[in-house]
């Protein structure tokens, strides 16, 4: 404080002299306020300030009471009183004098009087009644300043009951010739409306007049009222839309006098106000919204980014655009605008950008996608407010896929920022809520404290709790509720050790002991306290205090307490070194003699309870022995349903080969590089989960690990192709890694938001690593990866996606991972598809002979690497070759087509097998192939087999449960939960025909009876000679065999039925309505998954047309 004091003191003389020069009746060095302030600034402690102010208040009291004090002096006194009040010292004796000053003083004194009144009093003060007449008089005064003062004080606070007394006068002011008076009158009336809406209802027409006032200031003031009125009831004010739009257009067009410009922006606050009003008016009202599109667009366009205030307008504009009925063109522009905010280096704008995003993602979550990286950065921002807003945003885009990551982020935030907040809040909850609180609140709180691993954060939280409780206990404990005391003692007992007891080791123990001493501490609490003390007594200092207390309180009469004592004693006896054997004995004997008479070994007092329970249907008591027998029986039963899974045994047999490094290095022939493999040694089963993290923060983990284990230098490799297989140190730059991490985070946060998220990241300029991960968990990222040459395959994803789509799973929103450092010529083919699709990752495979193909029982996936120049058909595994299969679909190939991926479906009698062919089109032989297939949902087992040394063949099987359909051409419901088929596959046509023919009437009935619905906008098909609606529905009809029930105007109803599968014969109804440029579709069905699936197929069908 001293620097301020000094500064103030040094400035005082000049200030005071300046003031006296200026004359105008201000402060003179001898002025009392000057003295007071000088006095205060010289002080060094709060206590001194208090004494000084008290003295000052005494003198003020004396002066105001004196009849000789003139009004002029009174004014000066009031200023001093105001000063004292501001510092928090009550000067209630001066209130009445403030009113007197306002009543009797000259204009100038009156002003101070009014000011003091408005600062000292509030609406409920009875003193205010004394002011009503004065206000009334001043309102009618011819002096403008007096009228203004009266209006100001009225709008600050006025007793509700007295409003009728002055209302007519204030109303009259609406027609006052001076605009400032009109303006203040409008605001005063608004204030009346806020405190007593009924009183001002009759003057609504006058508000309209104010809105049309020739003075823009008055109009601006009236907007306050309209904002409120329209917010409360937009329907009644729709007719004002036109006027509001006109006003905004005029303002934006610069029609207002230049006075209203602020930093050359015309009346920005007015614009903001108008935009808000428009938002309320246009919300969910297409007609009204259409009226304002033009002016909104103009606002967006006119607002040039040159000053904060234009951003304020833009922000409001964006919000309005997203609130009113959507117009795609405007939405686009607004979204663009948000980018300006989010990317701004100014932190305030960034904050608003996030806020705007939070607002708009509720309508379209994809809008967050372009800003992923900024959002990720904001997540780590040093400003808590920014962080919080970011989390809010993430919360809005949470979906099933990214929920875990987002929740993790939120918890992290809570842990970091809110330790203190959390404990403090809980403290106040406990001390206020006290004993009326439900018992599980403290329980949950304690569990939360106790839970979690013992990491730094948890420890901090506990330590903070301990510290805050110690300081609480050091204060007055009498008022703390018993339950809180119990919580406190538990926490202190458990976690006091976290405190570093530098000065006073026994302080916690003493505090607890003090609790025991206090009369208001209940017996139950005491037993908690005692429990805590027992835990603490491992330290000798504690023990002494503890002992004292234990001895004293073992004489307590209450049995609960005594039991606790006893148990404590035992614990103590067992855990610590107790030398006072005499003391124990004395305690025990004491306890014993009090205890014995109360013991009822037959537990007869429980008989009533037991009989009640039996009557209520409870099972009779069984002895532990009996129970054990029951348990054994249950166990015996539970062994049955689990059959032996064939794939498991197979994989283990193939693993035996894999495991031996010597065998491998011998069999690997051409490739002398066994580094990839050696890190695997010791693993007994081929667990794909375990090896999945091949790509980690520091690069290729497998190599890193193996570097230590295998001395074989990479340069020894015979093939030049393999030599650049880079160790992690060769990574282009380590600076990229945090970035990459962020990107990874981004992909996990924004997964499921749209199909173009992968594209988004791929486009990033200096992308060496592209990392998109399906976020639900690491093992759900599905990656096909083989180490060859760098190439990015985007097309591959969709191709495989489509293929899989129609065979096994109708998956959504895939994301691709392509990770390759470009400088090192490591060859990587990365491929990702989403849920349930294959995951192939770097695990070296070797050529082995023979293949357990015959063991493909369920639906499976097979990867084949055929030699070049031969038709793929010739490489079909013998067992599959005779079966019906789909065409070979090329999935992808790299730039110089050295590696190609193709796939086909093979329909076995009881299964659907997906074959993936990986062909080497290069001249050089394949030395090494790293391939791994996983599938989270379907549990892939990998089998390895091979044709010869050069062509490794692998396949894996996807056990998908029993396939329901024996017909190979039908869809496969591949889900564990067979009761609820989530996945509808094959062409939709196959199970949607024949169309469900219903009449419009039946349709209506069915519509109402179906419970599962879904709404979505679809693209409209436009043809030259047809209505868009008819064209679209025709397209759907052609593609999906839907039945168009009826088309009326811009609406159409469509029906279809599921042909096969668990939901066989179940109908699905569609209601379509043309809405601007899109088709709003509403689907309903009794089967929960059907609308979703149908919608997907509709989208697909429409995209194809």
């Amino acid at each position: 404080m001293s620097d301020v004091v000094e500064k103030t003191l040094s400035a005082l003389p000049s200030l005071l002299s300046l003031d006296s020069q200026a004359g105008a009746g201000k402060l003179s060095p001898s002025s009392k306020l000057g003295n007071l302030i000088k006095g205060i600034t010289e002080l060094t402690s709060k206590h001194e300030e208090e004494t000084l102010i008290k003295k000052e208040l005494e003198s003020i009291k004396e002066q105001v009471a004196s009849p000789n004090t003139t009004m002029r002096q009174m004014k000066e006194i009031m200023v001093r009183a105001i000063y004292c009040e501001m510092l928090g010292y009550q000067a209630s004796f001066s209130y009445i004098h403030a009113i007197k000053l306002a009543q009797q003083g000259s204009v100038l004194e009156k002003r101070v009087g009014y000011l003091a009144v408005s600062l000292f009093l509030n609406e409920t003060d009875e003193f205010l009644l004394l002011l009503v007449n004065t206000v009334l008089k001043d309102l009618q005064s011819t002096n403008l300043i007096e009228v203004c003062m009266a209006l100001t004080v009225v709008s600050q606070m006025f007793p509700k009951d007295m409003i009728p007394a002055i209302l007519p006068v204030v109303e009259e002011k609406l027609t006052h010739p001076k605009e400032i008076i009109r303006r203040k009158a409008v605001l005063a009336l608004y204030k009346f409306y806020l405190i007593a809406p009924n009183q001002v209802q009759h003057i609504h027409s006058k508000f309209r007049k104010a809105l049309c006032d020739k003075d823009p200031g008055v109009m601006t003031a009236s907007l306050h009222i309209y904002l409120q009125l329209i917010k409360e009831n937009p329907e009644s004010y729709k007719d004002l839309t036109g006027s509001m739009v006109t006003i905004l257009r005029q303002v934006v067009g610069g029609k207002l006098p230049l006075d209203f410009n602020y930093h050359s922006v015309p009346a920005p606050w007015l614009q903001i106000q108008l935009l808000r009003i428009l938002a309320y008016l246009g919300k969910e009202d297409q007609g009204t919204s259409e009226m304002m599109y033009d002016v909104l667009e103009e606002s967006l366009r006119r607002a040039e980014m040159n000053h904060n205030i234009t951003y304020a307008i833009l922000f409001e504009c964006v919000k309005t655009i997203y609130t009113v009925h959507p117009k795609s063109q405007l939405l686009e522009k607004a979204a663009e605008c948000i980018g300006n905010f989010v990317l701004s280096p100014k932190i305030n704008l960034k904050y608003l950008g996030l806020k705007a995003l939070t607002y708009v993602v509720q309508q379209d979550a994809n809008l967050a996608l372009p800003h992923q990286m900024t959002i990720i950065e904001c997540l780590d921002h040093s400003d808590v407010i920014i962080k919080r807003e970011t989390l809010e945003l993430l919360f809005r885009i949470t979906n099933a896929q990214n929920v875990t990551v987002i929740v993790e982020k939120m918890l992290e935030f809570l842990r970091l920022t809110y330790n203190v907040w959390f404990i403090q809040t809980m403290n106040s909850v406990f001390s206020l809520g006290g004993d009326v609180m439900q018992p599980d609140i403290p329980n949950n709180f304690l569990r939360l404290l106790a839970e979690g691993v013992d990491n730094v954060e948890d420890r901090q939280l506990r330590l903070f709790a301990v510290d805050s409780y110690v300081s609480l206990l050091q204060g007055e404990t009498a008022k703390l509720p018993q339950r809180f005391l119990q919580v406190i003692s538990w926490v202190l007992g458990e976690y006091s050790y976290l405190r570093e007891e530098e000065s006073d080791p026994g302080s916690v123990m003493r505090l607890l002991a003090r609790l025991l001493d206090q009369r208001h501490t209940s017996t139950e609490t005491r037993s908690w306290v005692l429990g805590a003390m027992t835990k603490l007594c491992s330290s000798p200092v504690y023990t002494a205090i503890y002992w004292q207390n234990l001895h004293c309180y073992s004489t307590e009469r209450h049995w609960l307490y005594k039991t606790k004592c006893l148990s404590s004693l035992f614990k103590l006896y067992l855990t610590t070194l107790i030398f006072e054997v005499d003391l124990i004995i004395s305690c025990l004997s004491w306890l014993w003699c009090c205890f014995i008479p109360q013991v009822d070994s037959s537990l007869s007092f429980l008989d009533g309870y037991v009989s009640d329970a039996l009557a209520a249907g409870a099972a009779p008591y069984k002895s532990p022995h009996q129970r054990q027998e029951d348990l054994v029986q249950e166990k015996a039963l539970s062994l049955e349903p689990y059959g032996l899974s064939l794939p498991v045994s197979l994989s283990s047999c193939s693993i035996t080969d894999r495991r031996s490094p010597t065998l491998l290095s011998m069999s690997s022939g051409l490739s002398g590089n066994s580094t990839e493999l050696s890190h695997q040694e010791g693993s007994t089963t081929l667990k794909l989960e375990g090896v999945k993290r091949v790509w980690g923060k520091d690069g290729y983990l497998a190599q890193q690990q193996s570097a230590g284990e295998t001395p074989t230098p990479l340069v020894e490799l015979p093939s030049p192709l393999l030599s650049p297989q880079s160790p992690p140190s060769q990574k282009p730059s380590s600076g990229l890694e945090p970035d990459q991490e962020k990107r990874q985070l981004a992909s996990s946060l924004f997964v499921g938001l749209g199909s173009h998220n992968s594209v988004c990241l791929v486009r990033l300029p200096s992308t060496v690593w592209l990392f998109i991960k399906n976020c639900q968990s690491a093992n759900q990222s599905n990656v096909v990866k083989s180490l060859f040459k760098p190439f990015y395959i985007n097309s591959c994803q969709s191709a495989l996606h489509n293929l899989l789509d129609s065979t096994t799973v109708a998956s959504e929103g895939g994301a691709a991972t392509t990770t390759t450092p470009q400088q090192t010529s490591q060859r990587t083919l990365d491929h990702t598809t989403s849920n349930g699709n294959p995951h192939v990752e770097g695990t070296e495979q070797r050529v082995e002979a023979g293949g357990p193909l015959s063991l493909i029982r369920g639906n499976g996936m097979v990867a084949v690497v055929p030699p070049r120049d031969l038709p793929l058909t010739s490489h079909l595994p013998a067992e599959l070759s005779g079966l019906a299969r789909s065409e070979f679909t090329p999935l992808c190939s790299d730039q110089d087509s050295s590696l190609a991926l193709s796939a086909c479906r093979v329909y076995k009698e009881d299964a659907l097998v997906l074959l993936v062919f990986i062909s080497n089109n290069n001249d050089s032989a394949l030395h090494q192939m790293v391939l791994q297939l996983t599938c989270k949902e379907l549990e892939v087992y990998i089998f390895q087999t091979g044709l010869n040394n050069k062509v490794p063949l692998f396949f894996s099987e996807i056990p998908v449960g029993r396939s329901r359909n024996q017909d190979r051409n039908t869809r496969v419901s591949s889900n564990r939960d067979l009761e609820k088929p989530r996945i509808f596959c094959e062409s939709f046509r196959n199970f949607c025909s024949p169309p469900l023919t219903v009449s419009t009437g039946d349709y209506g009935k069915m519509w109402l009876s179906f419970s599962h619905d879904l709404k979505q906008n679809l693209r409209l098909v436009t043809t030259e000679h047809q209505e868009p609606l008819t064209a679209t529905l025709d397209a759907l009809k052609g593609k999906l065999h839907l039945h168009v029930v009826d088309i009326i105007g811009s609406e159409g109803i469509v029906a279809c039925r599921l042909l096969q599968g668990p939901g066989q014969g179940q109908p699905c109804l569609l209601h379509c309505r043309v809405h601007a440029d899109s088709l709003a579709v509403w689907l309903r069905s009794p089967v929960p998954e059907l609308p979703d699936s149908l919608l997907y197929h509709c989208q697909k069908a429409l995209t194809e047309t």
Partner: protein, 154 residues
């Protein structure tokens, strides 16, 4: 609506407090302390908005502040106010004070509490923004000052 306007210095000493909603005397003091506590621990390079303290409505309300040399100007507003709008309103307020006091400093606020209140009253009335045009505010204040002077002469 603006709920409160607070000015305090770097040490938390109140220099002006104006509440547009009724709080008890004690609560007002606590709000000032709480607000100071919230605002003062913010760095320079963070945003000027934060959630209001528990006493003044918590997350319902927002604190929008600016820090000038030794003084914090804090506006506590509800959700119906535009953040950036208020931020510029603070700027207008300070610029107006600067014009009225010619190089305003903390001392001006201490010695002329009443004047500062009068200026504020021309800008914000009963919690609503009345005037945002600096010249207009100064005109009003000057008109009153003129009258003041003529009165003194009498």
């Amino acid at each position: 609506m603006i709920k409160a306007i607070l000015i305090f210095n770097n040490h938390g000493k109140p220099r002006l407090s104006k509440f547009y909603e009724h709080y008890s005397e004690d609560t007002e003091q606590q709000i000032i302390r709480e607000t100071f506590h919230l605002v003062s621990k913010r760095d320079e390079n963070v945003c000027n908005f934060l959630e209001g303290g528990m006493l003044i409505g918590g997350s319902e309300n927002k604190l929008i502040y600016r820090h000038y040399a030794t003084l914090y100007f804090v506006f506590c507003v509800d959700s119906s106010e535009s953040e950036l709008g208020i931020l510029d309103l603070i700027q207008v307020f300070v610029e107006t004070l600067d014009k009225c006091f010619e190089n305003v400093c903390e001392l001006d606020l201490i010695f002329h509490v009443d004047k500062v209140h009068n200026i504020l009253a021309e800008m914000v009335m009963g919690g609503m923004v009345l005037e945002t045009n600096m010249n207009e505010i100064i005109t009003q204040v000057d008109a009153q000052n003129k009258m003041e002077k003529s009165e003194v002469r009498l």
